[in-house]
């Protein structure tokens, strides 16, 4: 157990530089990208010309589209979930390389984060109404700081959602929204 914890700690230390090197490593080695059409794979079929470049790249490398979800904010592009059935290192290499083609979304403004805070406080109050005892919301200033830091407060904080049955999850989603939380 202790060894596993130590290994986990070491892995955390190692991650940042490894992924920082990813573009270079990928540039050196992804030349082995498939030169022929990928084999057909089950999944959602979307015409290639309708896909953004990063998603199209993933599909061309064999990823299948599992789900296309509407954006949380009107005007944003759709959200994609894909699956890549390849050895982990190879799949990650492809992911890194294709991600270079993505158009990065600009960081949210204070006003946009405040709007999310207000929606999430309402979701928190809904969960309280269902009998849960989540961690109360912080100040909006602390929320914004968390958003721009290692992660913000969320309405389910303090609830062991991993222990929820599917029925509990469905009830919470239907009654309270929980826009930020999804199970696959």
């Amino acid at each position: 157990m202790a060894a596993a914890r130590l290994l986990r700690g070491l892995r955390r230390l190692l991650w940042m530089p490894i992924w920082a090197a990813a573009p270079l490593l990928a540039a050196c080695s992804l030349i082995a990208a498939p030169s022929s059409s990928p084999s057909p794979s089950p999944g959602i079929s979307v015409p290639a010309e309708q896909l953004p470049p990063d998603i199209r790249c993933l599909v061309e490398h064999g990823a299948r589209i599992v789900e296309v979800k509407p954006p949380l904010v009107p005007g944003d592009p759709p959200r994609y979930e894909l699956a890549l059935d390849l050895p982990f290192e190879e799949a990650r290499r492809i992911s890194d390389e294709c991600q270079k083609l993505a158009s990065p979304h600009p960081p949210l403004s204070d006003a946009e984060i405040r709007a999310i805070y207000e929606r999430w406080v309402a979701e928190y109050e809904c969960l309280v109404g269902l009998g849960y005892q989540p961690v109360p919301p912080p100040s909006v200033e602390a929320f914004i700081a968390g958003w721009r830091g290692s992660g913000p407060w969320m309405p389910t904080d303090g609830i062991d959602v991993g222990d929820w049955s599917d029925a509990q999850y469905q009830e919470a989603k239907e009654r309270c929204g929980l826009e930020f939380y999804e199970r696959d």
Binding site: R11, W19, L84, F88, A102, P107, V161, G162, E182
Partner: protein
């Protein structure tokens, strides 16, 4: 063998490049008692690549909206090795694997 590859990649990274992408990652092994499923719970900003416990499939979440999201995905019965990497940020405190009965 895997550790050797990681160390080699780390040395190369330190020698040749500075931080270019902001991928952050975490992983480990989650063993469950068969037939109970392993699952991974992860909180990330924008995009994430997820290998659920014991799975051979890498799942790619492309939100591309600069927002924080929480997801859970089941892995294999009995669990196994898992990893989550996210760009630009992973909430380490809220990223973990566990075991649960299906349904």
């Amino acid at each position: 063998m895997r550790s050797a590859r990681i160390i080699a990649a780390l040395a190369l990274a330190l020698a040749l490049v500075g931080p270019v992408l902001a991928w952050q990652g975490e992983g480990g092994t989650q063993s469950c008692t068969y037939p109970i499923l392993g699952y991974v719970h992860f909180r990330y900003n924008d995009i994430a690549d997820v290998l659920p416990p014991g799975s051979s499939v890498l799942y790619l979440y492309r939100e591309n909206d600069a927002q924080w999201h929480t997801h859970e995905r089941n892995g294999a019965a009995g669990g196994g090795y898992w990893e989550v990497v996210a760009d630009p940020a992973l909430d380490f405190a809220n990223t973990y694997a566990g075991c649960r009965r299906y349904g």
